[in-house]
């Protein structure tokens, strides 16, 4: 029996917005692909680019970073820093052969359970389309 390729995706979720948003998706019984492994972080700015590179080294096919919408950060300005770092990392990883499509930054608030499921569904499909990462 041939099983379809299932990508492994690591999600770094900010505790205050996106993690609560994902929780809302759960309590609202909204379903989305189970390829994502969620790691809760205090703020999206806690996501050191090192974590992302390490996730790829350990065999992740995609990495999703989600935080509060700009302006809504629990720590006032963490996500502005994330935005800058991720923009640079995105282009840098692509330069070294880890495709742009494997890394995504999303803003998901605590009330956007529906949107969270949409984001995960889209991103999983996008990563799955790329196929497994060459080792």
């Amino acid at each position: 029996m041939v099983t379809a390729y299932q990508p492994r995706i690591i999600g770094f979720l900010c505790n205050w917005c996106s993690y609560a948003g994902a929780d809302l998706a759960g309590t609202s019984r909204i379903s989305y692909p189970g390829n994502i492994r969620i790691i809760r972080v205090p703020c999206s700015a806690r996501v050191d680019p090192l974590f992302i590179v390490k996730a790829f080294q350990y065999g992740a096919d995609g990495v999703l970073v989600a935080g509060c919408h700009p302006g809504d950060c629990h720590y006032s300005e963490g996500n502005y820093h994330t935005r800058r770092r991720l923009a640079l990392l995105h282009s840098f990883l692509d330069f070294t052969g880890i495709e742009k499509e494997r890394l995504r930054l999303e803003w998901v608030s605590a009330s956007e359970g529906k949107r969270w499921s949409q984001v995960v569904t889209d991103f999983t499909a996008q990563v799955a389309a790329l196929g497994p990462r060459a080792k």
């Binding site: 090192l50 590179v53 935005r83 640079l88 840098f92 330069f95 052969g97 930054l105 060459a134």
Partner: protein, 284 residues
């Protein structure tokens, strides 16, 4: 060019303005240069400057933070000083900068008089140090133009698969001697992530996967800070094109944030600041 440097160094030491002058001298192969620390006036005449002076001497300044020091600085070194000043690593009051006008330096080859000029120097626009107290050499008439990155544009033409294969080969070669880190003026953390044991970000085994994380994160930690001096690449014993990684980040730093490191000690680097309403590409 060496004579005015020597005269100035002698004057600074004689008047006790500084305790030490950092510069270059001829190495024992008679061709290349090596760093020289002059504490005594009798050694002043050993100082030289020419296209063989490749090391970035700003690397040594943090160790002399509390002592008065003069440094012979080509544009790369001076940019390193600006970067360190911005990060509050140096005391400008204790520092005297003998700037030298530079037309490019050679690749580091032991005993080879006909070494090639470094590639990055051919694209360099910054021939005058951005900061100095005393300038040696003729200042060119025109102001420096915008930097260009033909090497990056060329590399980006490759497919992701080709790029991956190219870097895979480089990681394979890396012996993780950390020479890149030790030659870099920007790599001064007391505790580097590479030595962290819990969690072990960079494993002890010599394997491409571990070298990948070292090389990528090393370069990324220098984003918005790398002054394009090429010291890491010159120090690399296995010739990994480290400047390709660094220059990619420099180019993006300019494209995304309009920032070029080391040109001034006052401007905040891109990761120390942000704009609330900027639109950045990042999958967002």
């Amino acid at each position: 060019m060496s004579q005015p440097i020597r005269d100035k160094a002698r004057e600074l030491l004689q008047t006790k303005k500084v305790e030490c002058v950092i510069g270059w001298e001829r190495a024992t192969d008679g061709v290349t240069a090596r760093p020289l620390f002059v504490y005594d006036i009798k050694d002043v005449d050993r100082l030289i400057f020419d296209q063989t002076c490749v090391h970035n001497l700003s690397r040594y300044l943090r160790d002399r933070k509390d002592k008065t020091t003069a440094i012979v600085a080509k544009p790369c070194d001076a940019r390193g000083i600006n970067m360190l000043l911005n990060e509050q690593q140096l005391d400008r009051q204790k520092l005297f900068i003998i700037g030298v006008v530079c037309q490019g330096v050679n690749e580091r080859c032991w005993g080879q008089a006909d070494a090639r000029q470094q590639e990055r120097c051919q694209w360099c626009r910054q021939h005058v140090p951005p900061v100095y107290d005393f300038l040696v050499g003729e200042k060119p008439a025109s102001e420096p133009s915008a930097p260009s990155y033909p090497d990056i544009a060329e590399f980006e033409k490759k497919s992701p698969e080709e790029r991956r294969a190219f870097w895979e080969e480089q990681y394979q070669a890396c012996i993780r001697c950390n020479a890149c880190r030790h030659s870099c003026p920007g790599c001064y953390c007391q505790e580097c992530f590479a030595e962290n044991l819990d969690p072990t970000w960079v494993g002890i085994r010599i394997a491409p996967a571990e070298s990948q994380i070292w090389n990528l994160v090393r370069a990324f930690h220098l984003s918005g800070r790398c002054v394009d001096c090429g010291a890491c690449e010159q120090a690399c014993p296995v010739n990994i094109p480290l400047m390709l990684l660094n220059r990619k980040l420099q180019k993006d730093g300019i494209d995304f944030f309009g920032f070029e490191p080391g040109l001034s000690a006052e401007t905040a680097p891109p990761f120390a600041t942000f704009k609330k309403d900027e639109k950045l590409e990042g999958g967002e």
